[in-house]
């Protein structure tokens, strides 16, 4: 691998593409900065002028209302001008290449691209080709990485548990197809979490996943025993029946998070989910809406975390 494409020569964050290889110093800096934005979001006037005059383009090659909206809110609270582009799959079918699209948008005086794409490495590719003053935030690339989701999950964990150094955390479900899981695992191992587990059927776990520093469990009861946090993953509809899983029902029975299964975790364990949830598939409503669920806090914190990333990239260090 070449030099870290996310950092500038003086070690500052230049792009946010993946949490893989990002030093703990930067992760903590983002989380600390996000902490300072939490209070802004509770004010009547939820706006600070840090990015006034900056143009942020949400460039979504893959549709997502929820993620795009949170980035938009974060940018607007920093007083940036936001342009939303849902490019979908159509632009490439019109013959324009990904890099042509990016070159065109760069010519519109963008300062930052928030990019989502169905293929792993798309944000890396764009970051390699944009003008030096443009920053790129990866809002999800294929199964590879969703760094702001990973960061907001770390923020949530830290908020409720204080510190990573004594935590046991289980990531449950379709790790194979999940960019969220990969970002969570990279962040947890970097921040010093001593035990990260992945729990799921062998068909939904990557081969050699242990090389990422996790322990593998196939049975929910074993995987959840004594954990401080359960990070649930979404199961895509198209994966519920096929060669990886026989049915949503069998998945729920074995890996759906029910109050019964949750009892194997520590009594004060928290439950997280990146949304949108499939109630009755990967998570039972009694858990999703229960006392241990911090799922809605994740959404709130997500805005502060995205504000932190954007301000660190385009506004200089706050």
């Amino acid at each position: 691998m070449t030099v870290n494409p996310q950092l500038s020569a003086d070690g500052r964050l230049k792009h946010l593409l993946t949490l893989d290889g990002l030093p703990a110093r930067i992760l903590n800096q983002i989380l600390d900065t996000a902490g300072s934005f939490i209070s802004i979001n509770d004010r009547d006037v939820k706006k600070v002028p840090l990015l006034r005059g900056k143009a942020i383009f949400n460039v979504f090659f893959e549709n997502s209302t929820r993620t795009r909206t949170t980035f938009e809110i974060a940018a607007k609270r920093l007083s940036a001008d936001v342009v939303n582009l849902n490019i979908g799959a159509s632009s490439t079918s019109k013959g324009e290449t990904l890099l042509d699209t990016v070159a065109n948008l760069s010519a519109m005086q963008a300062d930052m691209f928030v990019v989502r794409h169905a293929s792993a490495g798309a944000a890396h590719l764009i970051a390699r080709h944009v003008a030096p003053h443009i920053h790129v935030i990866n809002a999800g690339d294929g199964r590879c990485s969703h760094p702001t989701q990973g960061l907001l999950d770390m923020f949530t964990l830290r908020h409720y548990k204080g510190d990573f150094h004594n935590l046991t955390v289980a990531v449950v479900g379709d790790v194979l197809h999940s960019r969220v899981a990969r970002s969570q695992i990279h962040a947890l191992t970097t921040l010093g979490c001593p035990e990260v587990r992945v729990v799921g059927p062998k068909t939904l776990l990557p081969r050699d996943v242990e090389s990422m520093g996790v322990h593998v469990f196939h049975k929910m009861e074993d995987g959840l025993r004594g954990v401080d946090a359960v990070l649930m993953l979404r199961l895509q509809n198209e994966r519920m029946q096929g060669s990886r899983l026989p049915s949503a029902g069998e998945y729920y029975k074995n890996w759906g998070l029910t109050p019964d299964k949750l009892r194997h975790a520590k009594p004060d364990a928290i439950v997280m989910h990146p949304g949108p949830m499939n109630r009755g598939v990967e998570i039972d409503s009694a858990v999703a809406d229960g006392m241990q669920s911090v799922i809605l806090s994740q959404v709130t914190f997500g805005i502060a975390v995205r504000m932190a990333v954007m301000s660190m990239l385009a506004g200089g260090q706050p």
Binding site: T97, A120, G121, H124, L125, S145, P206
Partner: protein, 427 residues
């Protein structure tokens, strides 16, 4: 035209010759090695002092991209690139557009290639119509038109009944069938080795059994039919082991690897470099080491460039969308030299894998230096260092995993059929 190649280290891996002496060429043949024939008055003297004179290289897989993919590369550019790489005989796979499944297409390709400078071109015909894996091609007709073997290139042969029958039919004419072992179902949608890097990057993976399951099927069918089969582009340790055992059992098989699999691994894809998106995928270090072992112990018969020039538009994409393949015909020799240096392999033994061994796979009396043989020669400077860059490559394809890196060893002269088809510009 009479040429004297003077004072070079002459290496003929087939005969074991390795000494400093002169080589004499007249018309299209080698007429003397060491000693000039009587009354030999050269029109040209090539000073090969400090250089190696070896048989012209024989490359089992060079995509010339014609017909159909002229936007990627042309016959003319790739023939020149091959000569610049020291290659004097090459086999080109049938994955053109349309594929080489009709005698007319093959005749046209051979005709055009014959009328331009560059290597001898041996087309590999399509084993099935349109490479669809359904209907056999007219193999006998195609052979008459000039096809040296038959293959599916990188297209899958899903239907094992068609596979069995194609081997039986080929056997009827004693034709050679080249197969790249890959189970289409196990490889479905995959772009990377099912290992640590794919786990980390979330790239859709191709497990090793995609190779070994297909390989086992092919080996069983070879046992059944006795067909002559060449296994192309092995990528895994388990695959090399299967071939080693099958050869030990006396099956009529040969096999090759692409040069990039001798050096690179999945780790080289960790920064999404689309030039490392190859088929089959680059696998683990253990797999690469097993390939090196297989080359050293003779399990693997040949190293090819698997030259695949790809235009920038098709490469400058996210890893999994990028067109697979790497340009390589000009890097074959320097990368073989690199491998020989790294493993302390004697140069003649290393050169065997790109000269007379692949020639034997093709059933050709090529890749040798002998009096009376064709004057196909490669003269290279084993020490010359150069940087791989778009301008340093003659191929239209600039898609090399080695861009920006230094190579040691550069071709100075390539003689094909007695003609000086390539000479490097003075540095």
């Amino acid at each position: 035209m009479k040429i004297r190649i003077k004072g070079g280290r002459v290496i003929d891996p087939a005969s074991g010759l390795d000494r400093a002496q002169d080589v004499f060429v007249a018309a299209s043949h080698i007429v003397g090695v060491g000693q000039a024939p009587a009354d030999f008055h050269p029109n040209q003297v090539i000073d090969a002092t400090g250089l190696v004179v070896c048989p012209g290289l024989v490359d089992l897989s060079v995509r010339l991209r014609e017909p159909g993919f002229e936007y990627m590369a042309t016959l003319e550019t790739e023939m020149h690139a091959a000569a610049a790489g020291g290659v004097t005989s090459l086999a080109c796979p049938p994955d053109t557009d349309p594929p080489l499944d009709e005698p007319g297409l093959v005749e046209m390709l051979k005709f055009r290639a014959r009328h331009m400078p560059g290597p001898r071109v041996y087309p590999v015909g399509a084993l099935t119509w349109k490479l669809k894996g359904e209907r056999l091609t007219e193999m006998a007709e195609l052979q008459e038109a000039g096809c040296i073997a038959f293959s599916q290139a990188d297209s899958p042969m899903v239907d094992t009944q068609v596979l069995l029958r194609s081997l039986e039919y080929a056997k009827s004419f004693d034709l050679s069938v080249w197969l790249r072992p890959q189970d289409a179902y196990l490889a479905r949608e995959g772009v990377a080795h099912d290992g640590v890097v794919a786990a980390r990057l979330g790239l859709p993976a191709i497990p090793v059994p995609a190779e070994t399951v297909a390989l086992s099927t092919i080996l069983l069918l070879v046992r059944e039919t006795g067909a002559r089969v060449h296994l192309a582009r092995l990528s895994s340790r388990a695959g090399v082991d299967l071939v080693r055992r099958a050869k030990h059992d006396g099956l009529p098989i040969t096999c090759d690897v692409g040069i990039h699999y001798v050096h690179l691994t999945e780790m080289d894809t960790a920064d999404f470099n689309p030039n490392c998106h190859l088929v089959p995928p680059l696998r683990s270090l253990r797999d690469r080491d097993a390939i090196r072992q297989g080359l050293a112990d003779g399990t693997i018969d040949a190293i090819c460039s698997d030259h695949a020039p790809v235009d920038e538009d098709a490469k400058e994409l996210p890893f999994q969308e990028a067109e697979p393949g790497a340009t390589g015909v000009e890097l074959l020799l320097p990368l073989v030299l690199k491998w020989a240096r790294e493993t302390r392999l004697p140069l003649p033994q290393a050169l065997s894998l790109i000269t007379h061994h692949p020639a034997a796979v093709l059933g050709l009396d090529a890749g040798r230096i002998r009096v009376g043989g064709p004057a196909d020669l490669c003269v290279f400077d084993p020490e010359a260092g150069w940087i791989v860059s778009p301008s340093a490559l003659a191929s239209l394809g600039k898609n090399s995993p080695y861009l920006g890196l230094e190579m040691q060893g550069r071709v100075r002269y390539t003689l094909i059929d007695g003609h000086l088809d390539y000479r490097s510009s003075p540095t």
